[in-house]
């Protein structure tokens, strides 16, 4: 099962406060452990929302608004993509993440083709697989 681990924004990440050298080193070590265990597929940090934008859709029209956004606790400041056997295993890994106070993460399962049932016709499925293979080659 594939999981996305969403790292929640807080006052510091939204203000662009960078992590300490100690935290960076600890996080690098944690990432390395997950890579060695074959669990980690990707991970990135995101710039604060004051550099971001949002697009809303209504009646065929889209409206753009610029950051920062609120409430802070619902925003994202980074993520990992991991592959584990169960949600419990994903939680087990994340309990070991070297976060200090004030951090929160959310763990969510990633959709696989079989989750879509009949809505994903064989044609669409083949197209999706081709697209992913091509995007991965980039």
């Amino acid at each position: 099962m594939k999981f996305m681990v969403i790292v929640k924004a807080n006052k510091d990440t939204e203000a662009g406060v960078m992590p300490s050298t100690e935290l960076l080193a600890a996080m690098g070590k944690f990432n390395e452990e997950m890579v060695k265990a074959g669990v980690m597929q990707a991970g990135e940090g995101l710039h604060p929302t004051n550099k971001g934008a949002r697009v809303k859709y209504a009646g065929g029209q889209s409206t753009v608004s610029h950051g920062p956004f609120s409430p802070t606790g619902d925003l994202v400041c980074g993520f990992w993509l991991i592959e584990t056997k169960s949600l419990d295993e994903a939680i087990g890994w994340m309990k070991r993440a070297p976060f200090d106070g004030g951090s929160e993460i959310e763990i969510r399962q990633v959709f696989a083709a079989e989750d879509f049932g009949e809505a994903l016709t064989p044609e669409l499925r083949e197209r999706e697989e081709r697209l992913r293979a091509q995007a991965a080659k980039k």
Binding site: R54, K56, E106, R108
Partner: protein, 141 residues
Amino acid sequence: MRFMMLMIPQGYESAPAKLDLDPERVAAMMRYNQALKDAGVLITLEGLHPPATGARVRFDSGLPVVTDGPFTEAKEVIGGFWMIDVASRAEAIAWAKKCPASANEMIEIRQVQEMGDFSEEVQQAAATFEHPQGGWGKALR
């Protein structure tokens, strides 16, 4: 520049664990994904199961505390994301505007951090961990 386009569907925070999808909407989204790919900007994309099946881990007490979904206090949750590589923020916004999204959906566009964005000290601290694209994590693609 790499950007993440985060899909935020209104009401997804309380969506049931099992989803019913409209095949027509799935097909329209596939055409959009194909357009991103054809333009050479798509890196990856994923959809996320509703938060009802998810978990949260908090670290504010110094020890990890786990809560199972759904998360009653959440006003917004992520339903999925695209990772794209474009020349500017304006180009990322232009792509998001083309998305066949419905009125209850919203896309948030956020730039991905690259090592070059940070001071030399920060870069050195993270140097033990090699990333093919210069970011924080290691993509195993």
